[in-house]
Symmetry: D2
Subunit: 346 residues, 4 copies
């Protein structure tokens, strides 16, 4: 059975496992003080052209989001997010569990627009001090690629940054699938851009070739006691080496982007076939996720050979499915998928 269900259905890139084996018996201090963490941090700083950045490794995305967001917010502040943001709907109420409201704005194809953000902030601060019975905006959260696979352009990020500067708000970019966004043809956003334009972002490992792990980067300044904050959130691994070593491998010889490119190239191959056969895209997405509309029978036939993600029902006869490639997707699997898609095309 083929699977295009997600980008976290295989293990890790072989180079990561190799490093785990090589270093297994070395004695290293715990809690992120090991040599691999230190080395990986240095490589990430270099890749971001940000020599003073502070870097931390956390095991997963929800963990990272709740730890980062709550470290920035004061008790009466909330985090502004597109309504489709991962923090709003799919993290089991993790942000609220830290005591903070997710302040939602309408999303357009998964993105938060500077226009919507400006209108919201202008209204909230119609009186200089804001409305004292309401939660104050305390941070802006975006994801890149978004939950719908779309990407911000550099101009869009700059516009959000300018607004954040105007209102004194930190900007946080959730990069759970960042690699795929960075290598997508046509994308003009780079790691150094993120280091210049955000207050904190994370480089996703779990979905881009690691067993687990996300690298949180603070390019400007780090919230006080951030390590204790991580500890309190259960986000510190005793064997921190496991995370450091993986990012060390991913940031050696450009492996991180190489992995991502592989996935994006194969996704583009699938998109071509879909276009040729006249399939309708639910959203036009450029990176490693494809949202395509299928009829009920097509969906049934596809499911005989391929595992995919059911996204949502559109109407009585058609639905949206998601197809996803990863570092580990095999070209022959893509060929076979394309063949099936051709067969079942109307």
């Amino acid at each position: 059975m083929l699977s295009f269900a997600s980008d976290y259905i295989e293990g890790a890139h072989p180079k990561i496992l190799e490093r785990l084996l090589e270093t297994n018996f070395e004695i290293q201090p715990g809690y992120g003080e090991d040599a691999y963490c230190l080395c990986a941090k240095e490589k990430i700083r270099k890749a971001c052209l940000c020599p003073d950045a502070d870097v931390f490794f956390i095991s997963g995305g929800t963990q990272t989001n709740r730890t980062v967001i709550s470290a920035f917010l004061r008790d009466t502040e909330g985090v502004v997010s597109a309504a489709t943001g991962h923090v709003n709907g799919h993290e089991g109420g993790a942000i609220e569990a830290t005591g903070h409201k997710v302040l939602t704005l309408p999303a357009s194809e998964g993105k938060l627009s500077a226009e919507d953000l400006r209108a919201y902030l202008r209204d909230f601060y119609a009186d200089a001090d804001g409305y004292p019975h309401m939660v104050q905006p305390g941070m802006v959260y975006i994801s890149h690629p978004t939950e719908y696979g779309t990407l911000y352009g550099l101009g869009e990020l700059r516009a959000l940054r300018a607004l954040c500067d105007e209102y004194g708000l930190p900007l946080f970019l959730d990069g759970a699938r960042l690699g795929y966004g960075l290598v997508t043809p046509g994308s003009d956003v780079t790691l150094p851009d993120l280091a210049r334009l955000t207050d904190v972002f994370y480089i996703g490992g779990t979905k881009v070739g690691a067993l687990l792990g996300e690298a949180v980067v603070f390019p400007r300044s780090t919230p006080k006691h951030f390590f204790t904050h991580m500890k309190q959130n259960g986000a510190v691994l005793a064997k921190g080496r496991v995370l450091g070593l993986q990012f060390d491998a991913l940031f050696t010889d450009g492996l991180y982007l190489e992995i991502a490119r592989h996935a994006v190239d194969l996704a583009e191959r699938i998109r071509e076939t879909l276009r040729e056969c006249g399939y309708r895209f639910h959203i036009e997405t450029p990176a490693n996720q494809i949202f395509v509309v299928l009829g009920s029978e097509q969906m049934e036939r596809l499911s005989r050979e391929v595992v995919f993600t059911f996204w949502e029902k559109l109407d009585e006869t058609s639905s949206v499915i998601r197809l996803c490639t990863s570092w580990a997707t095999k070209p022959e699997a893509v060929e076979r998928l394309c063949a099936v898609l051709r067969e079942i095309a109307v």
Copy 2:
């Protein structure tokens, strides 16, 4: 340089890495639905002689403690713990961050005694409904081995269980180093005992040969929505296979206990030397941790060749240090340590 600093300073047992390599390209669903998690759960149920137990895998100990404890407690309840309990002092306020008080009782060598617990509960419920201005006891937390390396006897656990039954309190056993406790000569507590006597306990992986991971076992019943509870706490890995596979390996052919026995045997070897040379133990501990008193000069000389953990200062001229063995400790390292200890003995 030798190191006896802790049991989390090396990687993972080679059989675990072997399994990671073998299974790396297999496609498996995420979030703990993979075949390895299912298989590991089954093996753990068998080892506990508890076919109906529910098992979950979480990446670390603090994460596990906060997730389990908050899943059991109602808002006005706290968790009763020895003052020396890990949840009280060394988790960055993780329990309080979930909104709950740690209700501390005096520890005796790291243990919570049934006598102290009974006196506290009797006082609290001197009026039938308890004192309504105070936090109610909602769970009892113990660790085994304790933070001081000591072990509960079966009789002690039974006495705590009887009290918990009397007062309707769930009993939670933190087994971050459980393996070492189970194999210690003279210990009469087994996995099936824990399954019979607790409402929830966890089998530590991180400190007993895994890269990361703890297996939470609910022998009786599971708090409602526990998976969502984990998600909210950031305790769910997308590639849950990484945890499942490790516990699958650890519970194949008795590896978990074999690993622990190795460490405990070597610790006993060190203890013999210490006894021979007349060293004073701060606490008599039977498992893989040794708490020994050294003079300032001894400590300085030892530190030239051996990494250890400074525990606490006793007075102007002497201190307590901790020596710790692990699954990966080499017999030759122990021999060299013993030689140094002999050299610097007074």
Copy 3:
């Protein structure tokens, strides 16, 4: 200057002050154990035809909402509310501060419709267990009158109740202005109806003639340790008599409804004038709040003689204002207001 700004701009009904004076030197136990609390509870039970109801007194609405909602919800549950619900926007994030998400559904004139609630619940439970990465609905919150002054009909409440029964959800009715809703001509909802149809509701005192205080009624069963829950939320007054005594007065000889009727009658008088003069209502509301559209110049002229609440700007030339009557509104003030409204009518 006249003021129709709100229903909390005067002190308390004279009968309440009279009782405070009469009883001032009586010695009574604290924390709600006094004779007036006991007596007021009994009178409220009678008014609700619910002899087994449990009643508690809390000083204000936000305090009540956060205490009641968090007492019902488990950690992974949220409260379902219309997007315009007070708990969603105007309580400074009080619900989220207790760790819970407000799950918003679209409001229609401030009300939550059974249709929207059914659609949401059906989607959430499309899989029998709900979607485990999302916050579960754990309670339904409605207000009556709503934040927009509208009222539920008995049929609407029954439909919501039926859905709550079907999905095992408690139904909570915020009655900050309940009195005004109960006496509005045409309203078919009574206190005994609320006792039959909700799991908890509160009878607002602050906005209906008391100095402060809300009476929380649990007609069916009370969350465990609710008093401690109140204490934890800072919702227990040492001199609980202050709250008990006020509700004792309000529930003696029908004072509560009499007060409310006075306000609603005067509001109706204002509405008649507005209709006669051809003003446009933003929302048709039946109780003590009136939402009317004024042009900029009208608004300016009105503000010279009358204090009102600016509600929202509709477009460049017109806005919505709120006029509110209370137990203390004087008929002569209403006459003068009506005269001004006639003068400035277009």
Copy 4:
């Protein structure tokens, strides 16, 4: 039946009720923006000789403690308190419910000593950054009078202040019974002292003649968004005038201290009798609370005529009881109490 059970068993000082009556029909804005709040704040600033102080009114003590403490602390910080501090044991876990640990130090007669605080801080900061796995001290909490009726001397407060300055910690003084402490003969602590030596303190109203209400004073600077913080904690009354007006009355013509002096004088009268008759004091207390040791039979006989508070059992035959005077205690009641105490003296 006489009652010396507490200082919150009667209503309010008659001058307060008088003001409530006089002002009842005046129209005033809500939420603390009324003229009485403004006026009361000004009078409190004057009494504190602190013209720039910020003042807020909150309904009760637990409410005040949780709101103030959580407004100051960052997520990873806790509040340092004597183990006997009200926030530690008698507020239903209110502080922990806001996510923060109460870091307890041993109390000596209810007080936190500078010596104990210094030792704790020195240990915690033995490494410059503190121990990152532990909750950081973020505030120091003391009460005056303490829960045991004892008082800090000016020198003791200065020593605590100096330590707080050294470690950058805000100092919070809980003055639930402050009035009684200020007028106690021999006490050298005044309101201006508190304004100079603390970062925030509150002037208790509930237990010193008001129906309810505490005045929180920030002499130096106010936590950002403190009003929203109050709102989030449910600590804002719509009719804020009720609190403002009471403090306005209490701070007119020295009423606050006059009330307190009455209580303290009568307590001293009781103490004299106790001394004459040879009773043993459990703690020597100077203000309006008396902790005296009685034999079982004495306690039984006293309880026939007098309501008092049982404090704790000392041994099989003797217990500690608390006798408490208030603004409303009548001299004839004290005479009768003294007569009974003489009768039952051994």
